[in-house]
């Protein structure tokens, strides 16, 4: 694919769409979430012992804003499944919670305890990318069937567990954040020339910067980086980074600052009029929880959602799985789900589907290996769209999503403008199966080596 192509043609090749929505096909044979009853009568004898899920996520501290919804998503799915009789109609799900805030070493010990002492059947959760590379090898060692909801670092599959057997992951990989944001910029604002960056000075910021940069090199090669700001972890005063960016007179400011740091930054940027002086694109502005962002947030900026999910998309009428999920989640928890809630919910239904398929083939309660075989290559229709588990690396793939911030009367917080959602098929922006492991990521080297440079 390397060489020169027309930018629009290439974006079209990538499958980038704006404002489109998925359509659930009537009579689809693809399993879907939210269907709690067993599709067929289970084969063989099914025990009625509880099915124990160890759910580890952040219940305290700053990341609880991600962790609590993750747990709620899994809890909602478990309650639905239990209300219909349990897994294979017999085994009620019992969730054992563990606080990921204990730190990586403690989390590893807790996983061992959950598996060896509590005899959990399945391990799920995890928010931090600092934890999946530590927990993944241990789950493999313990032969513990696992679906990580997040902890999305490319490092997990690139380095920590390159040949997984027991572990899977459901959210899009981290590299998708920078790539998705850059593709959205190229699609929306192709005439920009000067780009200023503000990223956290740790690996997520570097990752976002690198992947944004490599895509820009290909799609908007005429752009130049005119400013870089790298706020240290714990920075609360972003004014020097903001003024530095503004003084470079950029057409675009790009940022992957997240959570409370992002809120502090955007409120300071409002005082400096930054959003009037340049366009703004973020990988993760709305990637926390819908209610975490205030109504004073600027409208019309690219407000990334960690390239995963925002509850307003796919549109309810054309994708009932999302509408149904959002309604049920809101009814149960009085709030709107974020991408972690969707991940926890979908992970549980993917597991359920795999168990049912394995039972159909083998009868009785299936061995983990049979469930794993069914998880590999499985596709399910989840709230966010279709999710596909790639068999070679056990990574879940769903269309990457981003969009534009907008205030509407229906919600006390800004949402992604439903008319301007940008989606990209994830397979088109991620290194394909068999691509050699690369630095900083396989996706980076794949883009670098295979994407053409668009004509100016």
């Amino acid at each position: 694919m390397a060489g020169e192509v027309n930018r629009r043609d290439f974006l079209s090749t990538l499958g980038v769409s704006v404002g489109a929505a998925l359509t659930a096909s009537a009579g689809s044979v693809i399993p879907s979430v939210g269907v709690a009853h067993a599709q067929d009568k289970p084969k063989g004898n099914i025990p009625d012992t509880p099915y124990k899920i160890g759910h580890m996520t952040f219940f305290t501290g700053p990341a609880a804003v991600l962790g609590e919804p993750m747990y709620k998503g899994q809890l909602l799915a478990a309650e639905e499944i239990n209300a219909a009789g349990g897994l294979l109609g017999k085994r009620k799900i019992e969730i054992l919670k563990a606080d990921e805030a204990a730190g990586t070493d403690a989390n590893v010990k807790e996983l061992r305890r959950l598996k060896l002492s509590e005899k959990i059947d399945f391990f799920c959760g995890i928010t931090s990318s600092g934890n999946t590379p530590a927990l993944g090898p241990v789950a493999e060692e313990l032969k513990c069937l696992t679906i990580f909801v997040d902890g999305c670092t490319d490092f997990l599959w690139d380095k920590a567990v390159p040949n997984p057997h027991y572990i899977f992951r459901i959210t899009n990989m981290q590299s998708a954040d920078g790539v998705t944001c850059a593709v959205a910029v190229a699609q929306t604002w192709p005439k920009i020339r000067k780009v200023a960056h503000i990223h956290p000075d740790y690996s997520y910021g570097r990752n976002a910067f690198d992947h944004f940069g490599i895509v820009m090199k290909k799609l908007l090669p005429h752009t130049e980086v005119v400013s870089e700001g790298w706020p240290k972890l714990g920075t609360t005063d972003f004014s020097s980074h903001i003024t530095k960016a503004i003084s470079s007179k950029p057409d675009l400011v790009v940022s992957s600052v997240w959570g409370g740091d992002y809120v502090a930054m955007y409120k300071q940027a409002l005082r400096y009029g930054m959003f009037q002086k340049a366009k703004f694109a973020s990988m993760i502005a709305f990637g926390v929880a819908p209610h975490a962002i205030g109504k004073d947030h600027p409208e019309g900026v690219i407000a990334g959602v960690h390239s995963n999910y925002h509850f307003t998309y796919p549109d309810g009428d054309r994708w009932p799985y999302n509408k149904s999920f959002v309604e049920k989640y809101h009814k149960r928890f009085n709030e709107y789900p974020n991408f972690q809630a969707e991940g926890g919910y979908t992970a549980t239904y993917i597991l359920k589907t795999a168990i049912e398929k394995a039972n159909h083939l083998t009868g009785g309660w299936p061995e983990d290996d049979a469930v794993i075989a069914m998880l590999e290559g499985q596709m399910i229709a989840g709230p966010a769209g279709y999710v596909y588990i790639r068999p070679d690396n056990h990574q879940g793939y769903k269309d990457a999503v981003t969009g534009f911030s907008k205030n509407v009367a229906d919600y006390p917080f800004p949402i992604l403008d439903p008319a301007r959602i940008i989606t990209i098929p994830i397979r088109n922006i991620t290194a394909p199966p068999g691509w050699p492991k690369g630095e900083p990521t396989s996706t980076y080297t794949w883009i670098d080596k295979t994407w053409p440079v668009a004509k100016v």
């Binding site: 124990k52 952040f58 305290t60 501290g61 700053p62 990341a63 609880a64 804003v65 991600l66 609590e68 019992e94 054992l96 919670k97 563990a98 990921e100 805030a101 730190g103 990586t104 305890r113 959950l114 002492s117 509590e118 928010t127 931090s128 990318s129 600092g130 590379p133 530590a134 997040d150 999305c152 670092t153 490319d154 490092f155 956290p200 740790y202 690996s203 997520y204 570097r206 990752n207 972890l233 714990g234 609360t236 992957s256 997240w258 959570g259 409370g260 740091d261 809120v263 502090a264 993760i284 926390v288 209610h291 975490a292 205030g294 109504k295 928890f333 009085n334 006390p412 900083p440 990521t441």
Partner: protein
């Protein structure tokens, strides 16, 4: 050579190392490690109570520290804590009321005539309130006092009552009218904050005394001064001395001592308890501009360290600019030894200072902040041998030396101390946590306030021993934080129970040793005094490290001199080298030059700006600071539990309970009461349900007490087997959920043990 210096080389150890991988893609966006607490900036400012509701309504304030009127401003919520004790005081100058029997009879008739509970006032003619952890242990006596008041003869009250303001309303329909001139008895209100200002210890990170929140202790503060009869006073002080010096052999004996003390305090009816009032403080609950995740102290309310360590702005997952209103202008001097004693000062110090331990917000014990204590050992009659490499403070000079001869103590408490950087970027060392002991002895004879504040510590402390310095690692993927954690043993002259022993003499100081030394030098040279009392006595200014330009100027000059001399206090010689001292003095000088003040601490916030009306405090997100956003989340939104059924089976009581469950959503929450559900095995939860009990015999003596977390079949079990001899008892029971013992429902269960 100093006993600590050579073998351990502690003074050169760094307290923290931070490893941050640069190239790895291991970490995600969500590095969950944010040192210090939610707000990035706290503004504390004077706001008149009359103006506060409007400022809350227009979102100019997030919370108001101090009581407001009875009308709740729009989109606010009340936080309730104990405000004051209401009592009747008989006129000591009136010969008519010199007889205790006459006083008590008149008091009984008066209590029967007073208004019952209403609004923020609760009628309770007993000193220990439901806002004290020991309320359970007085539960039968509280009920007896209420019953006595109910059953007292009505009418015939011919007292001239002095009462003003809202207290006069308590006279209600009794027919009594407030007396303008001559008076027999006065209705009075003792504010808890006034007691705290006079009696609490708040010295360089030490808080106390360990029993500062106990009902019996506060009863002593309120009622002892009214007791005029010499014999009664002697008995009271003897009981108090026994209690505070560990002069008891069991929990039951301790409780009886406390009950007896309270009885002695009120027996003569010079002062008669009537009830108590709660303080209602307002927090802004607006969807965007409000705050959430609120923790508070059952007695200090929002003016407490736990509030600043939990409060979160709704509009920020973390960070944000918190705005707090205060009813009174900062008046007390800002120095960490005997300053910060008023409402404004306590709040500012709660952010700047960082005590070794914090008062348990909803109980009477202590929770770890910068030290973590292992369960105390010892308490054998033969005592605990003090090792030869321990350090014993010289009572006069405070100099710490190896013991001259074999020493024993009654108890040993071992601590792990979480060091960090000071605001001047220097790293804490063992010298910083040992020097405060020397200071306490050196200055107790030279300032009455320091003498009072350190009295318990000096009474109990035998020796200090630094055992070793460990490394503790927190691993967050690409971020690993390595702390140096000294392990320190404290040897005590008396034995105390867990929950109080660790608060007696924790090895801790929140300011660097060189700042202590600078202040000492300033006071020694007569430039200022540590306490207001001493300042008044000597006619010197009250030492303020920030707000008095003349003192700042004098401190700058002194500092230059000490830096030139590379001054090391005598107590630290051998522990601090000249080179280290030079670095410390230079760092303090640079800090003062950069920030315009000398309030250097190792706390979570730093003084940024100040005025006559308040201060602005900036968060310290230094990675060496060991507590993080979320560390105290378990103390936000306290929940309660109730016993719904108690059944006796053999020697056991089996309890069924209802408990409150917090359901959080968006920027709000709701609390629902539901049957208590045992969590699945192994699930970690902070919401441990504990049954507290005390068993009282027919003679009103406590014969057994304790707590139980034992569960069987969804029930809490209190097993009294082997604890009671045959006889008739009452078992007082209350539930604590997540440590919350505020306003408990006390069940009294008759319990007979047969032959």
């Amino acid at each position: 050579m100093h006993p600590l210096a050579a073998p351990r080389g502690l003074a050169v150890l760094a307290c923290v190392a931070v490893l941050l991988a640069s190239a790895s893609a291991r970490a995600g966006h969500e590095i969950p490690f944010y040192p210090s607490f939610y707000p990035q900036e706290i503004t504390v400012t004077l706001v008149a109570p009359a103006a506060a509701p409007r400022q809350l309504e227009r979102n100019a304030l997030h919370a108001y520290i101090g009581p407001l009127g009875s009308v709740k401003p729009a989109h606010t919520a009340w936080i309730e804590s104990l405000r004051s004790f209401v009592l009747v005081r008989f006129n000591p100058a009136s010969p008519a009321w010199a007889d205790s029997a006459r006083r008590c009879a008149a008091a009984a008739r008066l209590l029967a005539a007073l208004e019952p509970s209403r609004g923020d006032y609760t009628f309770q003619p007993y000193p220990v309130t439901p806002y004290h952890e020991d309320f359970l242990h007085h539960g039968d006596l509280v009920e007896a006092a209420k019953r006595k008041a109910r059953e007292a003869p009505r009418g015939g009250v011919a007292l001239r009552i002095r009462a003003t303001g809202r207290l006069a309303e308590l006279l209600g329909d009794s027919g009594l009218r407030p007396a303008a001139g001559e008076w027999d008895a006065a209705l009075e209100e003792v504010e808890l904050r006034d007691l705290a200002a006079k009696e609490a210890t708040q010295l360089d990170g030490w808080m106390g005394p360990p029993w500062e929140k106990a009902g019996w202790f506060q009863a002593h503060l309120v009622y002892a001064r009214g007791v005029s009869e010499t014999g009664a006073r002697g008995a009271i002080e003897e009981a108090l001395a026994r209690r505070v010096r560990g002069g008891y052999a069991s929990t039951a004996e301790r409780l009886n001592l406390e009950r007896r003390l309270v009885s002695l305090l009120t027996r003569g009816c010079e002062r008669v308890p009537v009830g108590y009032r709660v303080k209602r403080e307002a927090i802004n609950d607006d969807y965007s501009e409000g705050v959430e995740n609120i923790g508070w102290d059952a007695q200090a309310g929002l003016g407490s360290a736990v509030f600043l360590r939990t409060v979160k702005l709704k509009d920020f997952p973390w960070n944000g600019w918190l705005r707090l209103g205060l009813a009174s202008r900062p008046a007390a001097a800002w120095n960490p030894i005997a300053g910060f004693g008023d409402d404004a000062g306590r709040l500012v110090w709660a952010a700047l200072g960082d005590p070794a331990l914090l008062p348990a917000p909803y109980g009477g014990g202590w929770i770890p902040n910068r030290v973590r204590a292992l369960p105390p050992s010892g308490d054998a009659p033969s005592g605990v041998e003090v090792p030869h490499d321990a350090l014993v403070p010289d009572p006069a000079t405070g100099v710490l030396r190896a013991p001259a001869s074999a020493l024993t103590a009654r108890q040993k408490v071992t601590y792990r101390v979480m060091l960090s950087k000071f605001h001047d970027e220097t790293k804490m060392t063992v010298a910083d946590i040992v020097y405060p002991f020397a200071f306490a002895y050196r200055w107790s004879g030279r300032d009455a306030e320091i003498d009072r504040a350190t009295q318990v510590l000096r009474e109990w402390l035998v020796a200090v021993r630094v055992v070793r310095v460990d490394s503790e690692i927190k691993d967050f993927g690409e971020l690993q934080v390595v702390y140096e954690v000294p392990q320190v043993e404290i040897y005590l002259r008396h034995a105390a129970e867990p929950g109080q022993a660790e608060a007696i003499a924790p090895p801790w100081g929140v300011v660097p040793w060189q700042l202590l030394a600078l202040m000492e030098e300033a006071v020694t040279r007569g430039l200022a005094a540590f306490s207001e009392t001493e300042a008044r006595r000597r006619g010197a200014p009250w030492l303020d490290l920030a707000r008095t330009p003349e003192i700042r100027k004098a401190l700058a000059s002194l500092l230059a001199d000490l830096e030139r001399r590379a001054f090391v206090p005598e107590a630290l010689r051998g522990l601090v080298t000249v080179e280290q001292a030079k670095l410390r003095w230079a760092a303090l000088r640079r800090f003062a030059r950069a920030h315009g003040h000398y309030l250097v601490t190792s706390g979570p916030y730093r003084l940024v700006k100040w005025s006559a009306d308040g201060a602005v405090l900036g968060v310290v997100r230094d990675l060496s600071y060991p507590n993080t956003v979320g560390s105290f989340d378990g103390y936000a939104l306290p929940v309660r539990a109730w016993i719904t059924k108690a059944e006796r089976r053999g020697d056991r009581l089996e309890l069924q309970a209802d408990a409150e469950v917090v359901s959080k959503f968006e920027r709000s929450y709701k609390i629902v009461r539901e049957p208590y559900r045992l969590e699945p095995t192994g699930e970690k939860s902070r919401d441990a349900l504990v049954a507290r009990y005390a068993v009282v015999d027919a003679g009103d003596e406590v014969v057994a007490a304790g707590s139980s977390e034992a569960r069987e079949g969804g029930r809490l079990i209190v097993d009294l087997g082997g604890k009671l001899v045959p006889g008739a008892y009452r078992v007082l029971l209350a539930l604590a959920l997540n440590g919350n013992l505020v306003n408990p429902e006390v069940k009294v269960i008759p319990f007979r043990v047969g032959e």
